[in-house]
Subunit: 449 residues, 2 copies
């Protein structure tokens, strides 16, 4: 099986079915998984999506909508449905998915939907809407299975079956006391195997990992990945069980964070929609380019201040762009390794010093290696051994600067609380460009003129 | 709770305990989760790790070793243990983890360990060693719970409890026929709730997602993420159930693939160990820098061929490095968005054309915006309106080229089967550098001299 991609046949089949009766459409849709329909939706017009949502069962419709990528505005689909249909669908959603969806709407639409639906659901969703979207609270689902520690094995099993009626998968079972304070986690296996007079308290595993409700989602992802968890309970400061986060939600967080990392390190705003329109892309990228333009003028001013040298030695232009360009490349390498390392785990001060020193050694070695090549070219091709020496020194120097800045700047930004991926690349290119022009020009002025 | 980071206190406590008796060491270690010990191991000497592995229970030791990052060579730890201790630990490991570990050893060590351990385990591990590491087969675990479709509800429940004895979590239950052909998946909830005379066949869910054993791990990750799965069964061409892959293994794959993407896009070999030594880093980065140096000479040759223009108009050097640098930045933006988009889902031909056209529009708009700024500077600062026009045209032209190459090159590389992240960045910098020097020099020669 390959991951699902819509080909023309699928799209044609759906488009044709959209011309026919509801029954025909339903029959064609039955051949697709709900997450496949969510992907097909990306290619359809709003009114076509609406038609499909209306012929699916409420459960299927809720699955399709919750699988849709936020970029394709699933919430807007909801607004155009009849209040009855909308309520049915929202009630089928997990609370966390319903909250994500509703939070994308404006205040008046939010209130309207919350008035229409079952009031218990509305209360739960209202509570979740209060948490920041990118924290444990924003990510958690309040639908979970919890049993009181005082129940016996048989009572607990009955309770689990009762509570699981409305859930697809229960992942982990939680044991709580009368005040909903989390006592620990339970294994369904242990419960099935236990004798009937045993109480839940005796079966509880008290050695478990949990998160506070305001923890950043990236930290939640790190924990789930580090401890290989299926799900993690979310508690308040008093250890009261508020919800739980499952690993499938974390996969979405990881993809989101990774996309952001790659975009930010390349000078693209993290808000740019990958498949968005060109205006969205201009808005996301132009500010960075203009900042870069400012730093480019700075680098250019280095060249201007050595106009005499360039006039007396025109060949130096061709060399200094090589030195500056290579500095940029080497700095990008050091930056990528350091940023990725920081995003996988925080570094201690000692690890940070070691990293910077390592990049110094790497810069010196790679600088010397490339410097020798450039020097040989200057010697053979331009018959100018002294120029070769200048370029060897400039290349080595600039690649040392590249390594040092590529490692130091993200580490410093992280320490002062700025996202290292965002700002690093502009700062380091400014360094390697300026030094890349300054070093050959200055050395040439001293040694060649 | 925060994700675990070792601070000096933890390290000092462990180091002190290592001086003391086994009992003291055990007591200190008990305060840490096995995945925390795996992180602490990164800071310890090989002989210290060995001592700790020897005082833990075999189960704990197996957990620590399987949690260790491959970078820190967990397999080598195994080689130095006594054969008895080693066997105990390997037998505690899941088959997939044991296989990963053993595959890191050389042939003779592999054979020695496989001879020592329980022969049923050895047979299973030998079978897994045959699969490529980065395919479904290399990722799967053969330890799973499967029940015959002909069993009744009660027989099935008994069978599940029996098979789950040795497993920590069972995720999904599989139903198979007498030939181990996969019939579908079972829900523990459905089994618990079913009447006792019902057979497994009647409870089976036949609408499930599976993968073939030779599928690439990246595709497996896409499927698990797309269908929000906990685990996915792995089958051969005859639908015989071979194993299953769980979502926690996929999280590791995703982190690995994302690290590779960020490194490759920045010209770092995917094999570079993030926390490896400087020699490893030089080996991984120097080849790319030398290729880049070759392309930099190419760009420099453009400047050489317009030496007359540069001599007559020295100010042009400062401007052309701005044009070339901005082209590199804009191309990096287009490249990052396109590469990330490709890695999240493949693009149809039509989507590919739209993407390229979008990047053309973005390049033109951003080029014109930055071009105006540069033109204004040339007009006011250098009092040369014609130079302003040249730079406006060059900037717009180079940013269009940047957008087109940034989008087209990864798409073309993907189509011809080359990893777009690897080669794209070098190719596009060559383009934007060459065009970035050529356009201002050529235009200046035509319009200004």
């Amino acid at each position: 099986m390959q991951s699902f991609e819509i080909d023309k046949t699928d799209l044609l089949r759906i488009k044709t079915a959209l011309e026919g009766s509801d029954a025909e459409l339903q029959q064609v849709l039955q051949q697709y998984h709900t997450s496949e329909i969510a992907i097909i939706f990306e290619k359809l017009q709003p009114e076509e999506r609406e038609r499909i949502i209306n012929v699916l069962t409420a459960e299927e419709a809720s699955e399709v909508i919750s699988e849709m990528d936020e970029e394709h505005h699933p919430a807007e689909l909801l607004v155009n449905l009849t209040p009855e249909r909308r309520s049915e669908i929202v009630e089928e959603l997990d609370y966390d998915d319903a909250t994500d969806l509703i939070s994308q709407l404006d205040e008046s639409d939010q209130q309207e939907i919350l008035r229409e639906i079952d009031q218990e659901d509305a209360t739960n969703i209202r509570a979740l809407l209060n948490y920041e979207e990118d924290t444990a609270g924003g990510l958690m689902d309040t639908d979970l299975i919890k049993v009181n520690g005082n129940l016996t094995r048989n009572e607990a099993l009955e309770e689990i079956i009762r509570q699981s009626e409305e859930m697809e998968e229960f992942y982990t079972l939680y044991a709580v006391n009368d005040d909903d304070i989390l006592l620990g986690i339970l294994s369904i296996k242990d419960i099935i195997k236990a004798k009937k007079q045993v109480t839940v308290q005796e079966l509880v595993n008290k050695d478990f990992v949990y998160v506070k409700v305001d923890l950043d989602q990236e930290e939640v992802a790190k924990l789930i990945s580090q401890y290989n968890l299926n799900s993690i309970p979310v508690v308040n400061d008093n250890m009261k069980l508020l919800g739980r986060i499952t690993v499938d939600d974390i996969i979405d967080v990881m993809e989101e964070e990774n996309t952001e990392d790659i975009l930010k390190i390349s000078g693209v705003s993290e808000d740019e929609e990958l498949s968005g329109g060109w205006r969205n892309a201009v808005k996301s990228r132009l500010p960075w380019l203009i900042i870069n333009l400012g730093t480019a003028f700075l680098a250019a001013s280095v060249i201007r201040s050595y106009e005499d040298t360039a006039a007396k030695l025109p060949i130096i232009s061709a060399y200094m762009i090589i030195i500056a360009g290579m500095g940029g490349n080497a700095a990008t390498q050091a930056l990528a390794v350091t940023v990725r390392r920081i995003s996988l785990s925080d570094l201690t001060d000692r690890q940070a010093y070691i990293t910077v020193f390592k990049e110094f050694l790497v810069g010196m070695t790679n600088g010397a290696a490339n410097g020798v090549i450039v020097a040989v070219v200057a010697f053979w091709y331009d018959s100018n051994p002294m120029l070769g020496l200048v370029m060897f020194l400039a290349m080595t120097g600039n690649l040392i600067i590249a390594g040092l800045t590529g490692a130091t700047i993200p580490l410093v930004l992280k320490r002062v609380g700025i996202d290292p991926a965002v700002a690093s690349s502009i700062i380091i290119t400014t360094f390697t460009d300026c030094i890349g022009f300054l070093l050959p020009l200055w050395l040439a002025t001293k040694l060649l003129l």
